[in-house]
């Protein structure tokens, strides 16, 4: 789409804040202000969502394979965000099981893999950060 979706969405959010919110009061003003902030988040997420999900799914598959769990990628990847999110949910559920199992072990391999799981979880949080978040 032209103009680009993030640019158009960001402009729309700013227009809502500058032109519509001041015309409203109370509950309605708050709803429109939150709506404009959500449009900003959509703008931020639109361009990066598929890339971050693809990157994260690859990273989690590698961790699961190191943990001895089957984690084959689809032979023909579906790059729609909804499909990548569904795969992400499946992989993250398996990651929870892997991490819980690692925590019951007391050996260097388990500790190393657990540390790498945490490194990937930290990277995933940084990939998902919202510019407007408090933290």
């Amino acid at each position: 789409m032209k103009p680009s979706i993030p640019a158009a969405a960001t402009d729309l959010a700013e227009r809502l804040r500058a032109e519509i919110v001041p015309e409203l009061t109370g509950f309605r003003a708050n709803n429109v202000a939150m709506g404009s902030a959500m449009i900003d988040m959509i703008a931020e997420e639109f361009d990066r969502a598929a890339a971050r999900l693809f990157e994260e799914n690859e990273a989690v598959r590698a961790l699961l394979r190191r943990g001895g769990l089957a984690a084959d990628a689809p032979t023909k990847p579906d790059l729609r965000v909804s499909a990548l999110e569904a795969e992400n949910d499946r992989l993250r559920a398996a990651l929870i099981d892997l991490q819980a199992a690692l925590e019951t072990r007391d050996d260097d391999d388990a500790r190393a893999l657990d540390a790498d799981v945490w490194r990937e979880l930290t990277r995933s949080v940084e990939r998902r950060r919202i510019a407007s978040a408090n933290f």
Binding site: G26, F27, A29, N30, N31, M34, G35, A37, M38, M41, D89, R92, A93, L95, I96, Q99, A100, E103, V117, W118, R119, L121, T122, V125, R128, R129, I130, S132, A133, N134, F135
Partner: protein, 342 residues
Amino acid sequence: MKALTEADMTAYLAARFPDWRDVRIDGLHRLPLGASRETYRFDLSYSDGDGAHSDRLILRRDPPVSNVDSDRNHEYSAYRAIHGHGIPVPRMILLEEDPGPMGGAISIAEDLRGYHNSEYQLQQPAWRDKLPHIAAQMWGAMGRLAAVPVENLDLEFMVPATREGTAMQELDFWEATLDKNDVGPEPITRAAIRWLRRNPPPPAQKLAMVHGDFRAGNFLYDDSGTLIAVLDWEMAHRGDPLEDLAWSLARVFSFGKDDRRSGIAPREEAIRIWEAASGLTADPAALHWWELLNCVKGQGIWNSCAQAWTTTSGEREVIHAYAAWWLRNAQDRAILELMGHL
């Protein structure tokens, strides 16, 4: 959900109080307060055997689906329990638990008008010099709440708790909330839950009435920054007073997007004020446990927001989707920091 109207309110109050005459409702409108309940402001006038009366009132209504597992009776009883014990709160006036007349259970309270509650306003330059006073007010009131002898309060409506059991009771509750409102796997939050179970805190120094959501945004303050009333008691419960302190220190409530907690004061200053006012000690390890527990609690609430938005059969609340989008990843990031992975 059916919108509240002045005509409905008038008819309800006239039926509930047959001695009242000339019942009139003016200026009924919804306030932008919170994600879990609907809050309305209105003016009431009526006459009875004592003459003419007029009141400024606040009405809270339970929605069909909420992000917080509470109800009108619980919050109404919590306000009544703490009223008169040194923590300023609005006076409760009426409870209607039958959802029929008003489309949901309601409570009505006095409206303390002309004050502020915005947590964002406190980030404006005009308020910067008042923040130390506001910090003393906020964490001072929280400390005084912790000091109130729990045996002096009528808390029979609350779930029982013990000094030894409250930590795991809260963890069980919030893990169950996450299970009930599953919106996808949460490896970071689930790892935090396992850590909390492996590393239980010491028994609470005392049992207290825990507010459950004591932070900037949930108290009224005047132009000088003096605290006028503590609001939003729907999650109040018996428990470890460190829970309130820990909740107020949460990174997700750092509205200044810096190290000031609740956007008001540095962590160490908040703890110092709370300790002085409560007469209790914030043991660092125990406080850390409650801060992490509160991350689980927060994620439970934000996920409940997402679930409420997704499953409601009525009108969706914008704040449910907004809160989930805005807070879930920040909450994960706070967990990473507390667990030493950031």
